[in-house]
């Protein structure tokens, strides 16, 4: 019994790390620009397909897939910023919601059209299979995703708090006009933020692809978790998303095992709403 509980918690932590990795790009865009990117899940989906193409064409694993997905998605992030976000940011909130939602559908159905509706997977031994740690089974692919989630979170956090670029980005998010008077170009900063956020999302997708199925609608399945993770962690707080992701992963796993999987979402969302009641800004968000 106790052995199984440990396995459940370990599994929950690994799942949570994936949620955190999945959400880090979203928290950046949401927190810094007040733009809710409904296409976020589909960005992850594109990252997964980059990894899939890398595997089928080159036979390569996430070592090639993840950096390439980062580049592809970062480029897409910049394009999306200049072609869509820059203009709809000036419009009402509804325009942002519909604009990014439209983008989500465009991306999803372009992939449908090109790759078809079939489910794909990468071979499970692509990242070293599964190893047994005193009877606790850990998938290497999930462990890798977990480690990368930590690294990406740390890197994003340091970038925002310890570098000149980060300060400039924060300045723009605080007051774009004042930042402009200080000689910072809001356009450039926000495009960079989009590139970083989309790039991180690309890495997430490429790593999730090593243990999850790949299908054009996968962004829908995983997307809602990202929004909950970001709001629980606190808007714009990168470390908050990590803690929140881990928390949700463990709660989901434990309630799925102890109560019933059918009720696990009810447990997670009840705790989530209850928590927001006391702390609406999230775990690590500023008031």
């Amino acid at each position: 019994m106790s052995f199984v509980i440990v396995q459940v918690i370990v599994g929950g932590l690994l799942l949570g790390a994936v949620y955190a990795l999945f959400s880090s790009g979203l928290t950046l865009v949401w927190g810094m620009m007040n733009v809710v990117n409904f296409a976020h899940g589909d960005f992850v989906m594109l990252g997964m397909y980059v990894a899939f193409v890398v595997y089928t064409v080159l036979g390569g694993g996430p070592l090639i897939g993840a950096p390439l997905a980062m580049l592809v998605l970062a480029t897409l992030g910049v394009i999306v910023y200049f072609a869509l976000i820059r203009d709809i940011m000036k419009g009402p909130m509804l325009a942002q919601i519909l604009g990014t939602f439209g983008l989500a559908l465009l991306l999803r159905y372009s992939v449908f059209w090109y790759f078809g509706s079939n489910f794909n997977t990468l071979p499970s031994n692509l990242v070293g299979g599964t190893f047994d740690f005193f009877g606790i089974r850990i998938e290497a692919s999930r462990l890798l995703a977990g480690v990368v989630a930590l690294v990406v979170t740390l890197a994003l956090h340091l970038l925002l708090t310890r570098t000149a670029l980060g300060s400039k980005m924060l300045a723009v998010s605080e007051d774009a006009t004042a930042a402009q008077l200080m000689g910072i170009r809001p356009d450039t900063m926000q495009a960079i933020a989009w590139a970083i956020a989309a790039g991180a999302t690309g890495i997430a997708g490429a790593l999730i692809a090593t243990f999850f199925y790949i299908v054009p609608t996968v962004g829908e399945t995983l997307g809602i978790v990202a929004f909950v993770t970001v709001s629980l962690g606190g808007f714009g707080s990168v470390p908050g998303a990590l803690v929140a992701g881990l928390l949700i992963g463990v709660i989901e796993s434990l309630s799925g095992y102890l109560i019933s999987a059918v009720y696990k979402d009810a447990v997670v969302y009840a705790l989530f709403l209850g928590f927001l009641w006391f702390r609406p800004q999230g775990l690590m968000g500023k008031t």
Partner: protein, 416 residues
Amino acid sequence: MKFRHMLGLFSAAAMSLTLTGGALAQQTVKIGAIFPFSGNAASAGNHAKAALEVAMDIINNEHPELKDFPLAKGKGLTGLGGAKVEVVFADNQGTPAAGQNQALRLITEEKVVALTGAYQSGITLTASAIAEKYGIPFVNGESVAAGLTERGFKWFFRTTPIASDFAREYYNFLTDMKAAGAKTDSVAIVHDNTEYGTSVSNTITSAFKSKGLSNIIDVAYPANATDVQSQVLQLKEKKPDVVIMITYTSDAILFAKTMQAQDYKPPMLLADDAGYSDPSFLKAAGSISQGVFNRSSWSLGPPGSHTAIIAKMYKDKSGDEMDDTAGRQMTGFLVLMEAINRAGSTEPAKIQAALKATDLKPDQLVLGYKGVKFDEKGQNTLASGVIIQLQDGANYVTVWPKANAMKTPVMPYKGW
């Protein structure tokens, strides 16, 4: 004078246009088909579309090689003067509400004369309620939730075997396996929380219990899961002799991958069609699900037989091997078209009467049913199936009952 002449010409032209327009309308019979073309079941929807397109080809073109197969002879529906069949496909988006809206649109705007679909039992439920309201025949070939034909509907007909048929077959299969030395005392039923998952699991549970097999573990989970580790660990801990999987494709893949990661192999894994029959499941996770048993009503005949010819047509169209789900969808549609042809009319009441009088023999069907004949509830009483096994991780072979078996069942479950 000249003006009158022109007017005459114009009106003649207008008249001939209306006439040809009317004649054209008579030459096509419009059928609405509701399937998932987006959402997580889109793969199943696209295979259904290929199946219906093959059926349309059989009806609309000459196919002397199919000999006496219904509707193969001659072009179009001979009972309606060679009218061509046109299928209007509609996307149910994987939600009961969208399925309902599409049924309404097909009936009121596209003016279809009958409907087929909608894959997921929960969506067939809502879509067929609209058809019932408008008095339009709805023939379903693939949804198995028992309740669909228990609603007292007059316009709903179903050709597929249903959950209670499978439950009986599973029980008989397990009894035979037990006689051959397998342990089948405890059974875990893993199912999602959709209409399909819950109703099939309830039917199997009560059927097994009534036969004295009462050690049943219920493992429910929400459909389209992000993670199924806790469910696999539950199974691993409780060690059932038989695990029955009632899942759609996405979750089936996730379960296969998680079982491998947790190194869990039940002695016997028995899948209830759905996800485990999806060709994209076989490609994505077939090699780590070797030895899984599954139900099917599809069995391939010898070369030159009508099933072999139709299977080849389907493979040319879809790129995948013909499977049970596609075969059942094609059967539902062909049964509907055979009834319309026999009715010689597109009037709903006449189609309904013809459906009620349907009496097809095994050699007139794509699938291995004992025939098609509807009871007063609209359920086909002659539907039946076999048990197949994924022995090599790529293609299913029939293993039960003995009369149909191509190979003997292999135990225990091999996995990867």
